[in-house]
């Protein structure tokens, strides 16, 4: 059960996010996590600014995208978004501070890609971003039973990288000069966080994986 703060200025309350269907309870002050809806497209589009390329928003070829609000609205109305792949992170005042998402779930190899997307890097210091990261990791490990999650960061995303390391991610290597943006090449680093409990996802016929 959760309570959402009144957007007109009522003091923030301790908020309990009880995602019964996922078996999760996230207790966090001044935080509201909800499934991203099509109306968030106007906020989400800010993340795609040319001057601030983010690794999490590159396409399959590692090229930056320039979606319009309407295109994002359409994506957020898609079945994948409706299943809860994208989540909006609000602070105690009801202001959107960022997003988190879980994508590319691979059932047979038991991993997926996760991303944390603050609207501004300074937002990473806010409790709602920490709650968002913990929420998405719990969803990957406790609900889906994955063995690991992955993410990628650009060499210039130092604060985001530090944020991931604080939450248990470790480097799996760096692809050199893999992205061209803002007049120069950038390195892309892969970060991995292993499920501390080991995987419980069945990875092969009749067998259960406990890989790490």
């Amino acid at each position: 059960m959760y309570q959402r703060r009144n957007a007109q200025g009522v003091p923030a309350l301790s908020v309990y996010l009880n995602f019964v269907e996922w078996g999760l309870v996230i207790e966090q002050t001044d935080t509201y996590i909800r499934t991203t809806d099509p109306d968030d497209a106007t906020t989400l589009v800010q993340l795609y600014a040319w001057s601030d390329v983010r690794c999490a928003l590159l396409d399959q070829k590692r090229e930056p995208m320039m979606p319009t609000v309407d295109e994002l609205r359409e994506i957020l109305a898609s079945p994948e978004a409706a299943k809860g792949a994208f989540h909006t992170l609000e602070d105690g005042t009801g202001q959107i501070r960022g997003f988190c998402c879980l994508r590319g779930l691979s059932q047979d190899t038991s991993f997926c890609e996760v991303s944390i997307l603050p609207l501004a890097e300074a937002n990473l210091e806010l409790p709602c971003m920490d709650a968002g990261m913990k929420f998405i990791l719990k969803r990957a490990f406790a609900h889906h039973g994955l063995q690991k999650v992955m993410t990628h960061v650009l060499d210039k995303e130092t604060r985001v990288r530090a944020f991931y390391l604080e939450h248990g991610f470790r480097s799996a290597g760096t692809q050199r000069e893999a992205l061209y943006a803002n007049g120069k090449y950038h390195d892309i680093e892969a970060l991995i966080c292993w499920n501390p409990q080991g995987a419980r996802r069945v990875i092969a016929e009749g067998s259960e994986s406990h890989a790490n």
Binding site: R62, E63, T109, A178, Y185, E205
Partner: protein, 219 residues
């Protein structure tokens, strides 16, 4: 030459080969489909963790079915062919990013007897020349399974750097295996070419010159 020690300053004998690479055509579809049905194709080639085997198969069939070549395609498929032995294998240049000037490379030799020999290395070398000299790319990547040692050793010999080690990343035979991510920059490939002058006789340029001579002789 194997077993012969060279004196200081003496140049090694240039390598010669009967094999060559060419664009894959619709007429190659039957032989490619035959290779794709081989369990080794599934076991070794699907190195890209971002795409499923089904996606790759559909993409290959789709690419071969095209009537005209795009000026800036997202993928290019080349056949490794031989004057003596016929089609030997397939070179896949995929996820070509014209913005980042990079692509991912897969090499598969359908004829097993050629897999661990010189043909695989030569096909990789020529494919890299094609990437850097013709497509003007800046970087070539390859995702190779850890258990496919001959393949990643071949790629390492061209100067490629192992940049990623993804443990427990791909499912084969009921077990999870590691994937290595390799990257080769143009500058690194240039260094390799300077070092291994024996490849001069089998470069893409000399291969094309040889094909022209052969065609002239046939007509």
């Amino acid at each position: 030459m194997p077993g012969v020690l060279l004196q200081k300053g003496q140049k090694a004998m240039p390598i010669k080969s009967e094999s060559f690479i060419r664009r894959a055509e619709r007429d190659d579809l039957d032989v490619i489909v035959e290779w794709m049905e081989d369990e080794d194709f599934q076991r070794f080639l699907y190195g890209d963790p971002a795409r499923s085997p089904k996606q790759i198969r559909e993409q290959i069939v789709g690419m071969l079915g095209r009537s005209v070549g795009h000026t800036m395609p997202g993928g290019i498929y080349l056949m490794v062919d031989s004057h003596k032995d016929g089609p030997l294998g397939l070179v896949l240049l995929q996820n070509i990013s014209w913005r980042n000037r990079n692509c991912s490379l897969d090499v598969y030799l359908g004829k097993k007897e050629f897999r661990e020999g010189f043909v695989a290395g030569l096909a990789t070398f020529r494919a890299l020349e094609y990437c850097f000299d013709e497509l003007n790319l800046h970087r070539v990547s390859a995702y190779i399974y850890a258990f496919n040692r001959p393949s990643w050793r071949t790629f390492e010999m061209t100067g490629a750097v192992r940049e990623l080690e993804l443990e427990n990343h791909v499912l084969r035979d009921g077990a999870l295996h590691a994937i290595y991510g390799y990257g080769l920059l143009r500058s690194e490939f240039e260094q390799f070419r300077k070092k291994f002058t024996r490849m001069e006789g089998v470069t893409l340029k000399s291969m094309i010159a040889d094909l022209v001579v052969r065609e002239g002789a046939e007509t």
